[in-house]
Symmetry: C2
Subunit: 390 residues, 2 copies
């Protein structure tokens, strides 16, 4: 599908209206750049986008229906009747504040300029490390997933070329076909010069410890490029208790799904087979740093027949895993993680557009950190891990 056609189809998806204040903000950008010269360099590392063709594909999936838990949030974002809830809050208490916000996500996901850059400028954010928003192409049928992954990577590359100091990006791929995925990974790094990869946890209910995905892990190691394992809702085999009370998503299910994924990589021995893998996880490490004492006690090498880990779980955090602060703007949690896994293993993120930019910026600017710690978390570690030009 061509871009123009896709954009036309999108008219029914959401009103991509550019508000006047964004235009004003764009005009203010040069001024901000000057006044913020002395400010902290800030690279946000879990920033979401999509392209019209994938938004259209999600809408089709939502219409088709199914049991996959991601459909609950995809319906809100990609198939919400535009403006339905905005004026009806007084009448319908069940349509609530975050649901309304979710319905306004699509224009921000589809935009790079002017909405996103204006938001970055207004908050002195240096750079977004962009990644295709969850659940990526992993929820699509194989051939469509392969095609749209390439298209999304091409578009991402174009945007970065237009704004090389403001955007970097993580490539997506279709784990549904690991061999083709590995080729797309090579193209993304070698030709498109992207900065790593994003995988949205499970693919058709399988995790990356499944040997069929090993060509993907081999490629990541060979290319010396990190894989950001981003959440999606719990896989079918663990979905049932998450179907009620909307706990499938960012409030809870995402964290359980992703942390379980990481522990499968550890206890399966996958991180021993691929010792140079560089895994990134968001949301303050999906609480795994908090669990490390117990994980080490209960999960030491050889603690149970059936486990294959050669190291203690905390040792994989020293060798293979880096975390970001996305969605957890808690100075106590940040300090705990610095103590536990080290300041070199932590990167700042906003989680745009799902989290508001201003408090995320305030968090990294004001958290009680040494200036060395702040520089590392705000940009230094991201420059090292994602090979972003300082």
């Amino acid at each position: 599908m061509r871009r123009r056609t896709a954009l036309k189809n999108l008219s029914s998806l959401a009103a991509v209206a550019i508000a006047p204040d964004f235009v004003q903000a764009k005009e203010d950008r040069l001024l901000n750049t000057h006044t913020s010269k002395q400010s902290l360099r800030k690279i946000a590392t879990e920033e979401a986008f999509t392209i019209p063709e994938i938004a259209t594909a999600y809408k089709e999936i939502v219409h088709k229906g199914g049991t996959n838990l991601d459909l609950m949030v995809l319906k809100q974002i990609y198939d919400a009747p535009v403006g339905q809830s905005a004026g009806s809050s007084a009448k319908n208490n069940d349509v609530s504040n975050r649901d309304k916000q979710t319905q306004s996500m699509l224009p921000k996901l589809l935009d790079f300029d002017p909405i996103r850059l204006a938001d970055m400028d207004a908050n002195n954010v240096t750079m977004h490390l962009l990644s295709l928003t969850m659940p990526g192409v992993q929820i699509l049928e194989k051939s469509q997933a392969i095609d749209l992954a390439q298209l999304a990577n091409d578009r991402l590359s174009e945007v970065i070329k237009q704004h090389p100091t403001r955007f970097a990006g993580l490539a997506c791929f279709a784990p549904q076909d690991p061999a083709i995925a590995a080729k797309e990974m090579q193209r993304s790094i070698n030709n498109l010069k992207l900065n790593g990869f994003i995988v949205n946890s499970h693919t058709n209910n399988l995790y990356l410890d499944d040997p069929r995905f090993f060509p993907i892990l081999e490629a990541a190691e060979a290319l010396d490029a990190p894989i950001y394992i981003h959440p999606r809702a719990p896989s079918d085999g663990m979905a049932s208790p998450f179907r009620d009370y909307r706990i499938e998503g960012a409030a809870w299910g995402y964290g359980v799904e992703t942390s379980t994924h990481i522990l499968r990589l550890i206890f399966s021995g996958t991180l021993d087979r691929f010792p140079k893998l560089n895994i990134v996880i968001g949301h303050m490490g999906e609480a795994l740093p908090f669990w490390l004492w117990r994980l080490d006690f209960m999960g030491a090498p050889g603690a149970r027949a059936g486990r294959k880990n050669a190291l203690k779980p905390s040792e994989y955090f020293q060798r293979n895993i880096t975390i970001t602060t996305s969605g957890v703007e808690d100075p106590s949690a940040l300090r705990f993680c610095i103590d536990k896994i080290g300041v070199d293993r932590i990167m700042w993120a906003i989680d745009y557009p799902y989290q508001p930019t201003t408090p995320a910026v305030s968090f990294i600017e004001k958290a009680p950190l040494t200036e060395t710690e702040r520089e590392k978390i705000a940009h230094g570690n991201a420059e090292r891990i994602f090979k972003i030009k300082p």
Copy 2:
């Protein structure tokens, strides 16, 4: 089944041999009591026991087989060929250190005196708050569960009467029949003078937010007695990704199962319907304190249609939830939790016999705490929450 018969049947379950050093330790007890007069009073709040009849019932369940994830650990504890692995470690690396320890759990679970009291004395532990070990009677058929819950509570009460300064206890009940459970709860508090209740997470894959269990929650409120929600392995509807690599248990699945249970109670509005419920969770709050910032952000009242919580998740931690340190002897995690939920909401635990006593004691004696904090966590909060005589 009578006690003598059950004990006889147990001979095939495990070798309940009393080692000479335990006898020696018993003789040393009086001396220890004197020398430890000035030491910190320590009430351990998640200490497991079983009775022969329930051990026999578990063995039968293991033989029957099934898909329930708890069977993986029950097989290790209740149906392990005695001594099989002890001498074979050099030959069979797959039978590992923790598996071997698990096979030695049963004698300790069945004992109160001399093994347990000797272990307590040797470590200056004042008291065990005893509870029937997981998965309690909740894995049994309804009528058997009802009978064995009563029997376990009777035995527990007897043991406490024999050692009123050394043991307190939590009553079990059979959620399979909520009306009878409520009656047993009344008997346990009013007649047996027990200190609260233990529930091992789900019952037949249902959680306590299911209205059929409301008589149980009503009884707990009316009796002003806390419910300790202890882990068991993930329920069938979330079990699939936990079946590999032995991540179903203490290393990971337990925490996911129990934290998900608590969030169902919060987001279903159950804790609003029963605002006086006093819930206790172990394992440093199953990492929920670490998640509180994100839970509050994503789970504020009205954040999503389908949720019923009237308060922010952190507010339930102030009103309804107390945590214990069982299995997480991490001073950083303890300090984080004090900062996050307050020192009055944290109680010490060992998790005997699953965790060794000496390091758990060392943890509470040496953690960087003020003496006021230490006294509250070591015993003061437990005295208040469980109505234990100071």
